[in-house]
């Protein structure tokens, strides 16, 4: 029982972190049709920038400076890069961001070195918030929930309650119409791209010391964020949110499952021997296949419902 409660909390924290990354990506993807491969790199840049700012000024300053910096980088990428390759079609844009991913990874390695940097949780938040059945729940995880929850609320308010949100939502589905009405659609694109990068940077600031700040952090988190976006569906923040939480929970809960599918059916009196290939697969315990589950779910989703959980367009 206690395992379930603790895993629920941890799964939620991880899910919220995924959401911070995926929300920006899904907005960019659904609005501009660009699958931004460099999105996780911005997350990494956010973590490294936060590490440097923390050393120079302090963590609280980093919490503001690093995301703003990432937003600015995002805006620059959109204006000077994406916009120029845009007329060559989506493949060119895709390749452009794919190249950026490698440049960022190599750049980070050259500037900060190949080894992890000691970006640590600020001392003010480095204590146990409460204890659940003898296990500490670190205050920093609570802080992460606070930040990501606050972010969720503010994007939702921004998109549904303000004029700019109205235009963004309109541009998501009818860019030509919005343009005809006299709105500057390219500027809306830049805003959304910069906003997405801001969120990724913010995720980097709070995720960098929750995990480890190292040059591989982008490639480690990148694929799962794509899974979230595809699974959640295009153009739907709600779908993205639900998908993030589902993926966070899957990754946390699959670990604690010791039984396999074979054990499950054994309960019904059917025993599966592990001497053939299929039998062997069915006998692998859940904790060992867990990390593959998100990808399996994504494939299943694409087969059954290509538009994703709550998407309004096909992927």
């Amino acid at each position: 029982m206690e395992i379930v409660l603790i895993s629920l909390l941890n799964g939620f924290v991880y899910g919220m972190l995924l959401f911070m990354l995926a929300s920006g990506l899904t907005l960019i993807f659904s609005m501009m049709g660009v699958l931004n491969f460099a999105h996780a790199s911005i997350y990494m840049l956010g973590a490294y920038a936060a590490f440097d700012v923390t050393r120079l000024i302090g963590f609280w300053a980093a919490l503001i400076v690093a995301p703003v910096l990432c937003g600015a980088i995002g805006a620059a990428i959109e204006i000077y890069g994406l916009r120029r390759v845009h007329h060559n079609g989506h493949i060119a844009e895709l390749l452009f961001t794919f190249g950026l991913f490698f440049i960022f990874e190599r750049g980070v390695q050259m500037i900060w070195g190949m080894l992890p940097v000691p970006y640590r949780v600020p001392p003010l938040l480095d204590f146990a918030l409460f204890r659940v059945y003898g296990s500490n729940f670190p205050a920093y995880r609570g802080f992460m929930l606070l930040i990501s929850g606050g972010m969720l609320l503010s994007i939702w308010l921004l998109l549904t309650r303000t004029r700019i949100g109205l235009i963004i939502q309109a541009a998501l589905t009818h860019p030509n119409m919005v343009s005809s009405l006299g709105h500057n659609v390219p500027r809306v694109f830049t805003t959304v791209f910069a906003g997405g990068c801001f969120l990724a940077g913010l995720a980097g600031v709070i995720g960098g010391n929750y995990q480890i700040t190292e040059p591989t952090m982008a490639s480690a988190l990148g694929p799962i964020v794509f899974v979230v976006v595809v699974f959640g569906g295009l153009g739907s923040l709600m779908g993205c949110f639900i998908a993030s939480i589902i993926m966070g929970m899957i990754q946390t809960f699959s670990v604690i499952i010791d039984g396999s599918i074979a054990d499950l059916v054994k309960g019904f009196g059917v025993s599966i021997p592990s001497d053939n290939l299929l039998g062997e697969i069915l006998n692998v315990p859940g904790s060992r296949v867990g990390p593959l589950l998100p990808y399996a779910l994504m494939i299943l989703m694409l087969l059954v419902r290509p538009r994703g959980l709550m998407g309004n367009r096909d992927t």
């Binding site: 000691p118 204890r131 040059p215």
Partner: protein, 415 residues
């Protein structure tokens, strides 16, 4: 920030000068190819290995190299994939480089053993010798052993034996966590074998095989370990699988001892920080404070020389020095770089390692036999690890003789 900028400019200059190298080749050298991951997720390891190997090689060069020539490393990127490594091997043999070092990834090493054996059988005039400095799966010198492959690093079995015999008597319940591939599976199997043999009183209360470098949050595992009531965790996880595991464990306030195979490897002390202090034990061949413990001027000078280059990590692999010492001795002895002659000279060779203990290259399986130690991450120590304030202190050790296990290797010899 300024420091980073300077480093960036430095990197640019280095890059620029690298492009200009082929112009002048000062004198003839003995080339050694280094095939390692220099890009991709394991690039930090490849980069660190290059620095450490180069330092050991420069030491031999400072003593005059061999045959009046200096050694020179030529690097090839294998991205830690067997297919890329085989392509690199092709370039090595195309350039007639007689010696090849490949150390990271036992799966890559298995492919290299086969690749080298095939090449040498087909091209007796252009052979290459495989010097393995850290691919640790025991099979490589057992079932898969080959005449052209020499392993200059203690295998999994030797490491696990050191760890199990170093477990304090009060430990009686243990949790195992290893990565789900050749190396991790080998550690798991050997741990169970040695626990049954040396410490039948210890109960294994749980076991995990985690997918390689896939898990981003280990808190669920920590919860499971906690529920099992284990006193200690034995883990061969390395890279982010180790760093994130320790981080989650420390954050959750779990009072647990970690017995590890990789906590001393570059990057891990930084990731552990204060959380790993007095809690983490590592199995290692040497560490930065061992020279001080042994009062060995030679070892101290060697470590101080490396630390003076400000590499940003420790140098535990003292067997790298033994490898270059042995290679130089063998080449000097036979008077040429003929691969077959050098290989025969390496067989059965004995050198004294930096700690003053014997290191023997066993003829039967080409496995280096040398001592191993367990050390605690503690303070105060003279040489701290990666500016954490903490460093390694020897707890226990097994001698070369203790770690000489029988081999099942049936080697096909060319003569």
């Amino acid at each position: 920030m300024l420091k980073h900028l300077r480093r960036l400019i430095g990197a640019a200059i280095v890059l620029g000068s690298m492009l200009a190298i082929p112009v002048a080749q000062a004198q003839e050298t003995i080339k050694i190819a280094l095939i390692a991951p220099f890009s991709g997720p394991v690039a930090p390891q490849g980069d660190a290995f290059l620095k450490m190997l180069k330092y050991a090689m420069d030491n031999v060069n400072a003593r005059g190299g061999a045959l009046g020539k200096k050694f020179e490393l030529v690097t090839f990127d294998d991205k830690i994939t067997p297919s890329e490594a085989l392509i690199a091997l092709k370039s090595v043999t195309d350039r007639n480089i007689p010696f090849m070092i490949q150390c990271i990834g036992s799966n890559v090493a298995a492919a290299m053993i086969e690749g080298v054996a095939k090449h040498n059988a087909r091209n007796p005039d252009n052979r290459v010798l495989y010097l393995n400095c850290a691919a640790l799966a025991t099979e490589l010198t057992e079932e898969k052993c080959d005449f052209w492959h020499f392993r200059f690093s203690g295998n999994v079995t030797m490491r696990v034996a050191t760890l199990v015999r170093g477990l304090p008597p009060e430990v009686n319940s243990i949790y195992l966590m290893n990565q789900d591939y050749l190396y991790g599976q080998g550690v798991a199997a050997d741990t169970k074998k040695f626990l049954a043999q040396y410490r039948p009183d210890i109960k294994i209360v749980g076991e995990e095989m985690v997918p390689l470098q896939r898990i981003r949050d280990f808190s669920a595992y920590i919860t499971k370990i906690k529920a099992s009531g284990a006193q200690a965790l034995i883990t061969s996880n390395w890279g982010s699988d180790f760093n994130l595991l320790i981080k989650s464990g420390v954050e959750s306030g779990l009072s647990l001892k970690y017995y590890t195979f990789a906590a001393h490897v570059n990057g891990a002390p930084t990731a552990m920080g204060d959380g790993g202090g007095d809690r983490v034990v590592a199995v290692l061949e040497g560490h930065d404070n061992m020279g001080i413990e042994l009062k060995s001027a030679k070892y101290n000078a060697w470590i101080d020389g490396f630390r003076a280059t400000d590499p940003g990590f420790d140098y535990p692999w003292i067997n790298f020095q033994s490898m270059f010492d042995m290679l130089a001795t063998a080449i000097t002895k036979v008077g040429s770089t003929d691969v077959l002659k050098v290989a025969l000279a390496l067989e059965g060779m004995e050198v004294t390692d930096l700690s003053g203990k014997p290191s023997i290259m066993r003829k039967d399986d080409h496995q280096l036999l040398h001592p191993f130690y367990t050390a605690l991450f503690t303070k105060p120590v003279k040489n701290e690890s990666e500016k954490t304030g903490w460093g390694w202190k020897t707890v226990n050790g097994l001698s070369t003789a203790d770690l000489t296990f029988p081999t099942v290797c049936k080697m096909k010899r060319p003569i």
